[in-house]
Amino acid sequence: MPTHTLRAKHRTSTLRTLAFLSPWLVGFGVFFAYPLVSTLYFSLMRYDGFGVPEFRGAGNWTYVFQDYPMFWPALRNTLWLVLVMVTCRVVFGLGIGLLVTRIKTATGVFRTLFYLPYLAPPVAATLAFVFLLNPGTGPVNSALEGLGLPAPGWFTDAAWSKPALTALALWGVGDLMVIFMAALLDVPKEQYEAAALDGASPWQRFRFVTLPAISPIILFAVVTGVIQTMQYYTQPLVAGKVASGVIGGSGQQFEPGYPDKSTLTLPQLVHNLGFQRFDYGAACVVALVLFALSMAFTALLMRSRGGLIQAGDR
């Protein structure tokens, strides 16, 4: 009798758990597991949306890796963005975070102003930046020329398009600012006071007190930054479209990457292959590459020391 009750209790608790998890379990199956397997399946097929898929074997894979002219440029751009854009964002975000914790007048106003651009919808923000950085008549180049500085082509110049995107990303640094601000305020005051008593310079205090204390947050910012870079889609695509002047309404087809493949990223390739060339097989190959890269960095995030995102118990 007692054993029976125990087992019954155990059963209801499993059922209860399943019941609470059920929305997500369905979502996991239908919107994650099934399409993932299906993506793997399509990566081996020739399929253009008409008729039935035909088996092609490794053909899509060799095409993407050896012959698809956009694949390696997109991967190189991603590397550039990881090295430069992510770094700049973290350094700038930390800088703004430090600045904001030191501002003692109208703190709320400053914080809000610094944070607002992060909220600007990406399409709107990108449109605004293409306009501001318009080489011919944009205010930024007008100002640069007024100061006697060289005026780059920004979104119209392959060498400057990624820096222009970086500027856009720095403008929207609010998320990192808030995270760093919270971390900086968490650093125990006593440590600073102790360091000050030891006669540490401001730089030494930053180097030996602040940095060690917030290093897990920096790592978090870097890794999530890398993962976000894998998903970087709207800004480079819209910037390319708008800067090249080829957008929807004209009826012209826009090849992503303008200028000269310099703004290509992997997600854009999925769109280009899947929804412009309608080569679903090759699109799925790129999707799987994207999947592998994202998951590798996610694993890194979960394994990283300091338990930034702890999967297990607290």
């Binding site: 993932l36 008409f50 012959d67 929807g248 309608f278 998951m295 297990g312």
Partner: protein, 445 residues
């Protein structure tokens, strides 16, 4: 952190493999149209125009059709580009269109070969339409692929040379250049450098100079993109190398790539009022027939001259030809109202009054012989240049390919690399590009 598997992806894959595999299959529908074109029905027509004036002109055209066919109502959806069109035709959903159109003539290969557009031959036969006698040949060519006619032309675009007559007079030039050698001389004569920039540039030759793209230049040399086997011909046909060398030399003679790019960056938007031709920043411009209206609307303060583009020095007898393009119109295969859809296609593409008034409204080139000759066609000498280019027997449009315009994009990409000096060896570059084009087509087959 204990208990975390080393490879999250592996775990995922293992879990995921339990899920079912489903493959979508929708067979392409046949051409046995059975609907009654005289029954009351509503058609959905998709087009790509988006400017308010253009949208209004389409509506007016459709209104005329509805008056002539009181049983058919037409729901018009504008601002549809080829990506959306292709996607919807593949989805084959109930919200899809009956009648479709596209600005991208080089996508005809994709449309016809994949069955995205219905084969129009049975309808043309039923209506007893003599296409050869109705529509100019280049336009007939860009609406069929490998023997399948899956579209008809709905107005066309012709590309020619715009020049600033005042600047010509000032420089003592009496007539527009006819050959590319003459063109180089004229362009240099019109150019007034100022330091590391220009007071005025004769011509912006760079491939990013709006319409000065590889395909548009190429139409002025006798050329063939593909050989009889459908393989890329660009490395073997000397016309391509000739064009690339000519353009590169023009770039160098006018000040070099870097200086020109810097100047190009001061240009206003191609579709805005401050287009460099309007502002006098450039004295000549390669452009489509629509530029005339735009330049006049912008209120330019000089006299605008128009002429065909120059031709290769040894092809002077073909002077007058140009690059052609246009809108193509067809029927969606999943339409349940194909006969009614054909009535709309037939009306819009072949009815003289419809073609003429539409051409007048959006200032494009009419696409039938009768409309080109029509006394109702609003025209003037400057616009007539483009009507003549459209009728010229040697005018051309890039051939269709199964993967649409991809081969042109690939060639264009090479153009950017060559003009900027990033690639020095032209022949090797063209050979590599040809290989890429062949590989892309193979992948699309």
């Amino acid at each position: 952190m204990p208990g975390i598997p080393r490879n999250a992806a592996l775990v995922l894959a293992a879990t995921a493999s339990l899920a079912l595999l489903t493959t979508a299959c929708t067979g392409s529908s046949g051409t046995g149209a059975t609907d009654d074109p005289n029954a009351g029905t509503t058609l959905t027509f998709w087009h790509g125009w988006s400017a308010p004036a253009e949208v209004k002109a389409v509506r007016a055209n459709v209104d005329r059709f509805e008056k002539a066919h009181p049983n058919i109502k037409v729901k018009v959806v504008g601002n549809i580009n080829d990506d959306k069109l292709n996607q919807a035709l593949r989805a084959g959903g109930s919200n899809g269109p009956d009648v479709v159109s596209s600005f991208t003539t080089s996508n005809i290969g994709t449309f016809c070969s994949s069955g995205a557009f219905l084969d129009l031959e049975p309808f043309i036969e039923k209506s007893g339409l003599d296409l050869e006698a109705t529509i100019p040949k280049p336009m007939l060519d860009y609406t069929r692929f490998e023997g399948t006619r899956c579209a008809l032309p709905l107005l066309g675009d012709a590309y020619g040379l715009y020049y600033n007559k005042d600047a010509f007079e000032e420089a003592g030039i009496t007539r527009p250049p006819k050959t590319w050698s003459e063109f180089s001389e004229v362009a240099e004569k019109l150019t007034e450098p100022r330091g590391d920039t220009y007071e005025r540039l004769g011509f912006m030759p760079n491939y990013h100079g709006y319409e000065t793209v590889v395909g548009h230049y190429m139409s002025q040399w006798d050329h063939a993109y593909f050989d009889a086997d459908g393989k890329s011909n660009i490395a073997r046909d000397p016309a391509f190398a000739e064009m690339f060398r000519y353009q590169k030399k023009l770039v160098d003679d006018l000040g070099g790539f870097a200086k020109l790019e810097k100047y190009r960056n001061t240009f206003g938007d191609e579709w805005g009022a401050e287009h460099p031709f309007h502002t006098g920043q450039v004295a000549m411009q390669l452009d489509g027939e629509w530029r005339l209206g735009m330049a006049r609307d912008a209120g330019v303060d000089f006299e605008i001259g128009t002429a065909p583009l120059p031709v290769a020095d040894d092809e002077v007898d073909e002077y007058g030809k140009g690059f052609l393009s246009g809108t193509i119109m067809g029927i969606a295969p999943q339409s349940k109202k194909q006969n009614a859809a054909w009535e709309l296609v037939k009306y819009m593409t072949t009815d003289t009054e419809a073609v003429v008034s539409f051409a007048n409204a959006i200032r494009n080139v009419p696409s039938t012989f009768e409309a080109l000759e029509s006394p109702d066609l609003k025209t003037d000498p400057a616009f007539k240049t483009f009507l003549d280019i459209a009728r010229h027997p040697e005018s051309s449009t890039p051939p269709a390919s199964v993967n649409g315009s991809t081969y042109q994009t690939t060639l264009q990409d090479f153009g950017y690399q060559y003009e900027s000096g990033k690639v020095k060896d032209l022949d090797a570059g063209l050979a590599r590009t040809a290989k890429q084009i062949d590989r892309d087509i193979e992948q699309a087959k």
